[in-house]
């Protein structure tokens, strides 16, 4: 068939009917079933006009099992957690939490658009620092992230900004630490393997 005529129909067999329940299993995620598709979230969202699917459509598609489209969409990565949607939602659904739930699912499965690779990487690097020291150290987070995600040349290009920030004391290379990281370790171990997945997920970029 000609390339001009893409198959538009979506068969139930193409969908992942378990996807909604997967997202619902994250804290706050279960609220997707309360949505009445009014579109307040999308109308309020300052970034929805740039999104492949509006937040309202993300919920509809999640409920219907359009897993591939949802986890590969730029919507979840464009969400800047401004919480406008959460404030305005007439059903008091915490849309931002749902965006995080989907992001976590995407990271678990190593799927995200190439141009957003910094997001999951930062999640991983942030977690590594907190896991080790109990606190984030911004200077090291930035250094680690740029070293990992950029070619050396590109990283050097933005090094100037970093230097200025060090000079103005907006960032520091001092390592922030809690008194007893071992205790934190116990808590994290009790929390289970979810954290490992987030760390591991940041290794590669599958979808581009």
């Amino acid at each position: 068939m000609s390339e001009r005529f893409d198959r538009q129909i979506k068969y139930e067999s193409d969908l992942d009917l378990n996807f909604a329940h997967q997202i619902a299993s994250f804290p706050g995620g279960e609220r997707i079933f309360d949505c009445i598709q009014c579109g307040t979230c999308s109308g309020t969202c300052p970034l929805s006009v740039y999104m492949e699917y509006t937040p309202r459509r993300i919920i509809a598609m999640t409920r219907a099992g359009f897993k591939d489209e949802v986890v590969r969409s730029n919507t979840i990565w464009l969400c800047s957690s401004c919480y406008s949607c959460t404030v305005e939602c007439p059903k008091e659904i915490k849309l931002t939490d749902i965006m995080y739930a989907i992001k976590r699912q995407a990271i678990r499965e190593n799927i995200w658009p190439k141009e957003f690779k910094m997001s999951p990487m930062m999640t991983g690097e942030f977690f590594k620092l907190v896991e080790k020291n109990g606190r984030n150290s911004e200077g090291w987070l930035m250094m680690n992230l740029y070293m990992k995600s950029m070619a050396v040349g590109d990283a050097l290009k933005i090094a100037g900004i970093g230097m200025k920030m060090f000079a103005k004391k907006r960032m520091s290379l001092k390592t922030e630490k809690i008194a007893d990281p071992a205790e934190l370790r116990k808590i994290l171990d009790a929390a289970g393997s979810e954290m490992e997945l987030i760390k591991e997920g940041a290794k590669e970029v599958v979808h581009g």
């Binding site: 009445i36 307040t40 999308s42 109308g43 309020t44 929805s48 006009v49 509006t54 007439p90």
Partner: protein, 663 residues
């Protein structure tokens, strides 16, 4: 039978379809009941309340010569009266019956079948041991006062009052506002037929005024309610109008001659869209056709100093600045509450819609007044700067379906929004957008009206409006209000510039609904809507006998439903009155004279003032006609002299023993 006769008890366990049988092992309970003392027969049936179920009990009573009945089924509220009647039809006194609630108290609230079954057995054991100590009782018959009180003079109150007055009953219609007519009087047209609201309502208002059986009391509120079904005593407070109603003929000369030459005070009836003088009439067709003086703005009433030109102008001498608040007492047999609703006020509650901030954002009720030919603009719709609007956006569900304001659907706003869209388009030629979440048109001719609007070119956008702003992002948006919404049918976020935005506000309970509820001793849902006795089978009755509901005070309702409900409430009230008497529950209290020490502990506690004191004997006495059987005195009495029928100590202790002996 006499109380000394040996009890012969029949126990009947109901399946209630699967309501009980899916949790409770009914067979096991029946088997268990057979082994209880004095039980002669025990059986089960799928629906005991049905005719064959009732017949089963009646037949057993004859065959086995039963003199006590226990039914284990639903709540007494649901079917106690049914089975008491069956007991009476079987030839015994109706109070030789006891109910065990194994549905609401067991099967609906117990997960485990074993637990549910043992709990049922315990309750049946309690009921069996209690009923053995029941005694025959007789009901007192009390005559019913044939007069009726209707509270609220909107369309529901008007309809209820006229129906009962036509049936020959004396009706007192109490209305808080200076005129009857309620919300309906403010509308221009009504959906879906586009009947002129005034043409169908004002004749009814006039009939109320002229009906020989109706006493209309405006500017009045019910202050106190005492008594009980058939015999209520009601105090009505009438606020001063400063006009003698019987003398005023509505010539309006006083308004003309008021020292204020210009009308300069915001006119409440038109929601502040028009102006009035201190002496005014809410609208030309107000009923009664009588002016009133506003004490807040009248110079004489406020400051005591005025030329009082109005007094000179009134040749009938109807103006009376000395009028004071008056209390009148009414005796009525039945009460119909038709106190209506309040329109949602979006001021400060939904800041994203800019109501009260952008002048061109209106509520739907304001637009009703602006479109009304008797309204402040004689029906001409323009922006505040006098321009005819080119585009208008109507926002549905304002304050409704929202956990932060009201969670319920207001039921009428889809339809009235469509009506407003039609009227706005007809009067101004503007393009009208309707922003809706779901289009709900369930009513006769309603879907057809929606179809008509679609054919007329109304522009529907499915999506809940996120914000209304004047922040222009394109030249076309300059000077307009911009409505930002996701068009959920198409899946894009749209910005739609309009000249006027209309907020289709929802319906709320009246702000004083909870006080009114207490005054009439009825129940309210948590939101404040008055609670009907049963949502399907007793929709106009309340849990207080003799008090009925009509119209939107019970929940959001449109005009046809309000009128239908008003007719139903009137019919219920008429059935009560025409029966002529009410049978009182015989569960009243009495005082055992030889035990009473005359301490008067009980009389102060009685909420119904039913306890008097015999000074000669120095003993308390209970007036059975006033006693409601609440049991407070029984619990209060330190010497155990206060006792209550159906709640004797031996009955209650036996019931407890029955339950505990099983547990």
């Amino acid at each position: 039978m006499t109380a000394t006769e040996t009890p012969r008890i029949g126990v009947y366990v109901c399946h209630c379809g699967i309501n009980i049988a899916s949790r409770v092992n009914v067979k096991e309970v029946v088997e268990f009941a057979r082994g209880l003392p004095h039980v002669v027969v025990a059986s089960e049936y799928k629906y005991l309340c049905s005719d064959p179920g009732q017949e089963l009990i009646r037949a057993d009573m004859k065959e086995h010569n039963l003199n006590r009945i226990v039914v284990a089924s639903c709540s007494p509220l649901m079917h106690e009266s049914t089975f008491r009647r069956v007991t009476a039809e079987g030839g015994q006194n109706e109070f030789l019956f006891q109910m065990a609630n194994i549905r609401e108290h067991v099967s609906w609230v117990t997960e485990d079948e074993g637990e549910a079954t043992s709990k049922s057995k315990a309750l049946v054991a309690g009921a069996v041991r209690r009923v053995a100590f029941h005694e025959p009782l007789t009901r007192e018959k009390v005559p019913v006062n044939p007069n009726v009180l209707v509270v609220g003079g909107g369309i529901a109150g008007i309809q209820a009052a006229l129906t009962m007055a036509d049936a020959g009953k004396k009706v007192y219609l109490v209305e808080r506002e200076p005129t009857i007519g309620g919300h309906m009087a403010k509308f221009d047209k009504t959906f879906p037929t586009l009947d002129c609201s005034a043409c169908i309502l004002t004749p009814k208002m006039s009939m109320v005024k002229s009906h020989p059986n109706i006493e209309m009391m405006t500017l009045s509120e019910v202050a106190e309610v005492h008594g009980y079904v058939g015999n209520f005593k009601v105090k009505v407070k009438k606020n001063p109008r400063y006009i003698k109603e019987d003398l005023c003929v509505g010539c309006l000369e006083c308004i003309e001659s008021c020292v204020y030459k210009e009308a300069k005070f915001p006119d409440e009836y038109n929601l502040g869209l028009g102006k009035r003088k201190p002496v005014y009439i809410p609208f030309p067709q107000a009923t009664p056709q009588v002016v009133l003086v506003d004490p807040e703005t009248c110079l004489y009433l406020k400051k005591g100093k005025c030329k009082q030109t109005c007094l000179e102008a009134c040749d009938r001498k109807a103006i009376d600045f000395e009028q004071k608040e008056e209390i009148s007492e009414l005796d009525v047999g039945a009460i119909i509450l038709a106190t209506g609703f309040k329109a949602f006020d979006p001021t400060n509650r939904l800041p994203q819609y800019g109501y009260g901030f952008y002048p061109e954002v209106y509520t739907s009720l304001e637009i009703e007044r602006l479109l009304n030919s008797a309204g402040p603009t004689s029906g001409e719709l323009t922006t505040k700067s006098g321009q005819v609007p080119q585009t208008v956006g109507i926002v549905h569900c304002v304050g409704s379906r929202d956990k932060k304001t009201n969670v319920w659907c207001s039921r009428v706003c889809c339809m009235y929004s469509l009506k407003l869209a039609h009227l706005i388009e007809e009067r101004t030629g503007a393009h009208v957008y309707n922003f809706y979440i779901d289009m709900r048109t369930p009513g006769k001719g309603y879907e057809e009206f929606y179809e008509r609007l679609l054919q007329e070119g109304m522009r529907p956008v499915r999506g809940r409006v996120a914000a209304i702003t004047d922040w222009a992002m394109t030249p076309e948006e300059e000077g307009k209000l911009v409505i930002r919404v996701e068009d959920t049918m198409i899946g894009v976020v749209r910005r739609i510039p309009v000249d006027m935005a209309v907020l289709s506000v929802g319906l709320e309970p009246q702000p004083d609904a909870k006080e009114v509820r207490r005054r009439f001793n009825i129940s309210c849902s948590p939101e404040g809507w008055f609670l009907e006795r049963h949502p399907k089978l007793a929709p106009v009755s309340t849990f207080t006998d003799g008090v009925f509901l009509a119209g939107a005070c019970q929940g959001p309702k449109d005009i046809p439903d309000s009128v239908a409900q008003a007719g139903a409430a009137a019919a219920e009230a008429l059935a009560l009155i025409d029966r002529g008497y009410v049978e009182m529950e015989p569960n009243t209290a009495w005082i055992e004279e030889e035990l009473c020490s005359g301490c008067k502990s009980c009389s102060g506690q009685c909420p119904y003032n039913a306890i008097g004191f015999d000074d000669e004997k120095a003993r308390a006495m209970i007036n059975e006609a006033l006693c409601k059987g609440c049991g407070t005195c029984v619990a209060t009495c330190p010497s155990g002299a206060a006792r209550q029928k159906l709640f004797l100590d031996k009955q209650i202790y036996e019931e407890i023993r029955g339950v505990l002996s099983y547990v």
